[in-house]
Structure formats: C-alpha cells, structure tokens
C-alpha cells in the first residue's frame, strides 16, 4: 500500500494535448474516483498511472518512487479492466494465480492468497471453471480477485461495473466499497457514472476535456461545485443553470420575472439551482414561474419538467411524491437561499457569494 502523487501530469498525442496538467496527492488507503463524460481523459489518466500509456510530461509517483519509466509490472499496481480481460483458456484459479506465478511466489503462498480472495468474493465453487462458463457478475469478481491477490501498492479500476446490468451494478458497488474498507487498499477508480462516483469515493476528481475541474470530497463537489461543468455533471436530475442579470440584491430571470437574491456582484451571471433545493411560493411571494410540460413520478418524489414562463429555458424541480400537479400546470418555485450557485459566464468558474 502506498500513496500516489501526480505532479503536473500531461499527455499529448501527436502534438494534441489531451491531459492538461493534473496535480493530485492520493493518500495511503484512500479511495479516489475519477469521473467525467466520455472522452474527458479519465481512462488515459488511469492508464498513465498503470504504465500502459507513456507520460508526456510531469511525474507519477507511487509510494515515493517516480514510476514514469517503469513497466506496469515494476510499479506494484493491479488493474481491473472494463471488459475484465480474463485469460479465456485459464481456469478462474489460474487467472488469479497467473501474476503471482510470474512473480515466482511459492506454491503454498499462491494457494493461500487465491483461497482468501475466492472466499471474500464468493468464488470458491467456480475456481476450476473457465471464464466463458461464468456470468458477467462472476467474471467481474474474478477480475477483482486477480487484482486483489497481488496485494498491490495501488489498485486501479477502469469502469469495472459498466458491463453489468443495473441490479448487479448496485450489488457490486456495495461489495467494492466493503472490500475497500476491509483491505484499506489505495484505490483509483474510473467511472462515468456519478452515482458510483458519489457513493464510492473518499475524494473525487471531476474531469472535463483533460482538465481536473475539481478535486474534493463527494459532498463538497455536490454542495460547492467549482465550475459550471461540475455543477451540471454531478446531481440527478441535473442542476438548472441559466443566465440572469444581477443588480442590487435582485436578479432578472429569463422571461422577465424579478427575484430578490443575495448576488455576489452585478451584471450577467450564470445562476445554478438544484431541483431539490426549491420550495413552492407563498401567495404573493416573488418566485420563479414555471410551466410544467411533464411530471415524472418516482414514488417517494416526483420531478416536474417545464420551462421558465415567457422563455425557452428549461427548468426541473422536485415535487412531493403525492403532488397532483400535471402537464400544463403553472407552479411558482422559490430557491433555497442557502443553496445558490453563481458562475462566471466567461470562465464558468464558481463565484463565491
């Protein structure tokens, strides 16, 4: 086990930079999730840590050792691939033991480690099966097992759950979390799924176009997104973000309504409001007028999707599960002043109020 240090890590392909200088320190035993939309460079970053991609500039340190020029096997890492990449001609046991065999570990030690991992992952009945005779979830567990038996300094997972069905994904997510608590393994986990990111991570790296938009705990990312991109990416349904013009403690909404809000400065601003941080207006209270176009009822909650009246800006708000509002209704929503997000319209960065 070890800490990982990323120091201004950059990657270029044929002159085009795809990773623009990532700095981060991952503590020993920390679970860090790299999250972002596809093409944001999150897998590339992970593969640079793994040693599968060359590092164009900057340094990667694993356990106080700069590993830039080391082969993957010399970096003391283990990796779980999205499609599992199990060796199809080897049994589950052989798959898990292969790396240990290459490391010339004693037969007894290999057997005990494989047995331990098999117990933890409930794979004992399948040890002598070939991967093709396993279900997707079982294959995924074998891939996890193959990584865990190595007891590496760092465990790297590249979208390990994205090939599973929804139910299994939730189950495996819990299992991964539990396993991390038990082994205390330094873990770097790549996903595009914000639920996985939020639930698994000690800390998140939210990436966009090769830039780390924010590195923080899941709660901080949710409560104080560092940029408009992060604000829109984390949270479901996504945050409402639209342009308002601010002056003297008031904002003018698209469509012309005026709302008193504590604004950080005047001029054009991007205002972010989460659907869940909204309440219905009292009679006569200044509010955001929304015309609903559809209502999604999820049981406990309902989400109303509509437009801000008099504009073409779409707006989502959470309604009580028992709400009888429906398509065509007009509602007046008041934002919770404790959960306002303002972003600079030029840079997209958060403006502290």
């Amino acid at each position: 086990m070890a800490r990982i240090l990323l120091n201004d890590v950059r990657k270029s392909y044929a002159g085009t930079q795809v990773i623009h200088g990532i700095n981060m320190q991952i503590a020993d035993g920390e679970f860090v999730v790299i999250v972002g939309p596809s093409g944001c460079g999150k897998s590339t970053l992970l593969r640079m840590v793994a040693g599968l991609e060359a590092i164009t500039s900057g340094t990667v340190e694993i356990g106080d050792k700069v590993v830039n020029d080391l082969e993957p096997r010399q970096r003391d890492i283990a990796m779980v691939f999205q499609n599992y990449a199990l060796y199809p001609h080897m049994s589950v046991r052989e798959n898990m033991a292969y790396g240990l065999k290459i490391a010339r570990m004693s037969k007894a030690e290999i057997d005990s480690r494989v047995a331990k991992a098999a117990t933890m992952l409930e794979l004992e009945p399948y040890l002598d099966r070939k991967p093709r005779a396993l279900s997707g979830g079982q294959r995924q567990r074998v891939a996890m097992g193959r990584a865990l038996v190595r007891e590496p300094a760092a465990l790297l997972l590249d979208e390990p759950l994205s090939n599973l069905d929804a139910k299994l994904r939730v189950q495996m997510r819990l299992q991964i979390k539990e396993m991390h608590l038990r082994t205390g393994q330094t873990t770097l986990y790549v996903t595009h799924d914000q639920v996985e990111a939020m639930t698994l991570a000690d800390r998140l790296i939210v990436m966009n176009k090769g830039v780390a938009e924010q590195i923080a705990t899941p709660l901080e990312v949710y409560q104080r997104p560092a940029s408009e991109f992060v604000a829109g990416f984390i949270g479901s349904p996504a945050m409402n973000i639209f342009t308002v013009s601010a002056a003297d403690g008031r904002v003018t909404l698209p469509g012309g309504a005026v709302l008193p809000l504590p604004v950080p400065r005047g001029g054009d601003l991007r205002l972010g409001l989460r659907p869940e941080h909204m309440r219905m207006a009292e009679p006569g209270e200044a509010a955001i007028p929304v015309v609903l176009r559809s209502v999604e009822r999820l049981g406990a909650d309902a989400f109303g999707y509509g437009m801000i009246e008099g504009s073409d800006v779409s707006f989502v708000l959470r309604l009580p599960g028992t709400s009888t509002l429906d398509r065509g209704d007009r509602v007046e929503a008041v934002p919770d002043p404790a959960h306002l997000h303002f972003f600079d319209p030029e840079s997209g960065k958060r403006i502290e109020g």
Binding site: A50, G51, L52, E71, P72, R73, I77, A78, M79, F81, Q82, N83, Y84, A85, L86, Y87, P88, H89, Y98, G99, I102, A103, R132, A133, R146
Partner: protein, 287 residues
C-alpha cells in the same frame, strides 16, 4: 394438401441436391479408388485392359513386395526410406512455416518498431512470387551452402510463408488489447505473453495451418526434384515419377500403384486426426 405440396417439393429438392453431391464425390473419389483397385491386381491384369472395377486378390503380395525390396529394385531406395524422407520434409516444412510465420506475425502485430508497416508489406508482396520465380537464385544459394541432397536443403527454402504470416496476423489482431495489457500488468514480458497466452489461444489456428502446410510439404514436386540427385534423398512423389519413367510395358504398375496409395495415406491420416482435434478446440472456444 396445400401444406404437403411445398414439403414434397422441398424433399425432392433435397434429393436432387444429394444426388448432385454424391455425383461430385464420385467424380473426385473415383480416381483415388481406382489407384487402390490397381494396387491389388497383378501387373499382368493391369496391363491387360480393361482394368477391373473391384479389388483383386493380389493385395498382400503387392504390398509385401513393395515393402520388401520391390520398390528399391526399381528406384534404388526402399519404400520405408521414401516415407521417412517425405515425413521429415513435410514435418519440417509445416513446423518451420508455423514457427517463422508466428514469429513474424507476433512482431508485426504486438511490437512497434521502425519500418514495421514496410516489413508487413514486404511479406505481403512475396505472396505474389511463387517458388518457381526465385528458383534459380535459391538453387545457387543451396549449392553454395552445400545443402544439395540434405534435409535442410529440401526444407529451408520452403518454410517462409506469407500466407501463414497473414493468417496469424489476422488472428493476433482479434486478441483484445486489454488481454495484452492485463498480461503486462500481471508482469508477463513478451516471451511469457507469447508462451502462456498467445500460444494456447492460437492452437486451433496452428492445427489448421499445420494440416494445410503438411500437405503442401508432402506433395512438393519441383523443388525436391531439383535439390536432390541421390536416390537416398528422394521424397515419395519424386520416386513415383522416377518409377514411371521407363517404357510403359516395363513399368511395374502394381508397385507404382502401391506407392501411390502409400503416398496418399499419410496426408489423409493427418487431416483425419488433426480435424478431430481442432474441431474440439473450436467447440471449446465457441461455447
């Protein structure tokens, strides 16, 4: 009635298809059968047309004569020696081709080196050059190396194979990148990756290419004819040709036919045995 009509049509269609295929089999198999029939008759019967359509009673005598010196009296070398020579040459060519083409395909697919694509195209272009085109320089090289009348002389010029290289290249390219990466993370170097992962996954391909190339090697004619002048080094195909180079009446046709049958048998054996084996392999990977 309405339902049975198309069924009947289908049945008669199938009957025609079967008849057609049976006809095809007869056309292909009849000469082979006739060789076998001829190998069981005495020379007198063969020389007096028409040749009977059914096997005769001389089988044991013909075959034992062929093995116990009949063939060496004509060709100057025993049938055993001919079979051994041909087996060595065919095995050498088949295994050599597999070794060389796998190695070059491995290099081209899994390694990045300068002029990689140039190497690939060079190999590809040699597909267009049959052995006959380069036969004179090859012969000269073999003479200079003193390899005339040797097994290496028979085998080496024939073991480079663009076809097999391409086949292995195509197969290697279907191996997912992640498998290679998983092996790298597991600590496997290039040699271990080849030995532990690529080779076991290639076995069915190896079997298929072995069958094709063994038969290719077994039936070689032009090159063995050029590079051997001692009877001791003849392959069975060359010996056959030498046996019939007398005047028709002098040719011991019954022994020629026995030798022909024995020339056909080993490739058939290889096909039958290997086929069972690689079909099993195919079924396993498919499942």
């Amino acid at each position: 009635m309405a339902e049975s009509a198309p069924l009947a049509a289908r049945r008669s269609g199938r009957l025609i298809a079967h008849l057609w295929m049976v006809l095809g089999v007869i056309v292909v198999a009849f000469p082979v059968y006739y060789v076998f029939v001829a190998s069981t008759h005495s020379l007198q019967t063969i020389l007096r047309p028409p040749l009977p359509l059914l096997p005769g009673s001389e089988a044991v005598r013909n075959y034992s004569e062929a093995f116990s010196g009949g063939v060496s009296r004509i060709g100057g070398v025993s049938l055993w020696r001919l079979l051994a020579n041909t087996t060595i040459v065919a095995m050498g060519i088949a295994l050599g081709k597999i070794a060389i083409s796998m190695a070059s395909a491995y290099a081209i697919v899994f390694f990045r080196f300068p002029l990689r694509m140039a190497c690939f195209w060079l190999i590809f272009i040699t597909l267009m050059l049959p052995v006959e085109v380069r036969i004179q320089p090859t012969y000269k090289v073999m003479v200079d190396l003193g390899l005339i009348n040797t097994y290496p002389g028979l085998i080496l010029p024939l073991i480079a194979s663009a076809t097999a290289t391409l086949l292995f290249r195509q197969f290697f390219m279907t191996i997912p990148d992640e498998l290679l990466e998983a092996a790298r993370v597991d600590g496997a170097g290039p040699w271990r990756f080849f030995k532990d992962i690529l080779w076991p996954l290639s076995l069915t391909n190896v079997a298929a290419i072995f069958v094709i190339q063994f038969i290719y090697g077994w039936t070689q004619y032009l090159w063995p004819l050029l590079v051997t002048n001692s009877n001791e080094m003849n392959t069975i195909v060359i010996a056959l040709k030498k046996m019939v180079s007398f005047a028709d009446a002098d040719t011991p046709w019954h022994l020629v036919m026995v030798t022909s049958v024995l020339a056909i048998l080993p490739p058939i054996l290889v096909v039958v045995l290997m086929q069972r084996w690689f079909v099993k392999g195919l079924v396993e990977t498919e499942k």
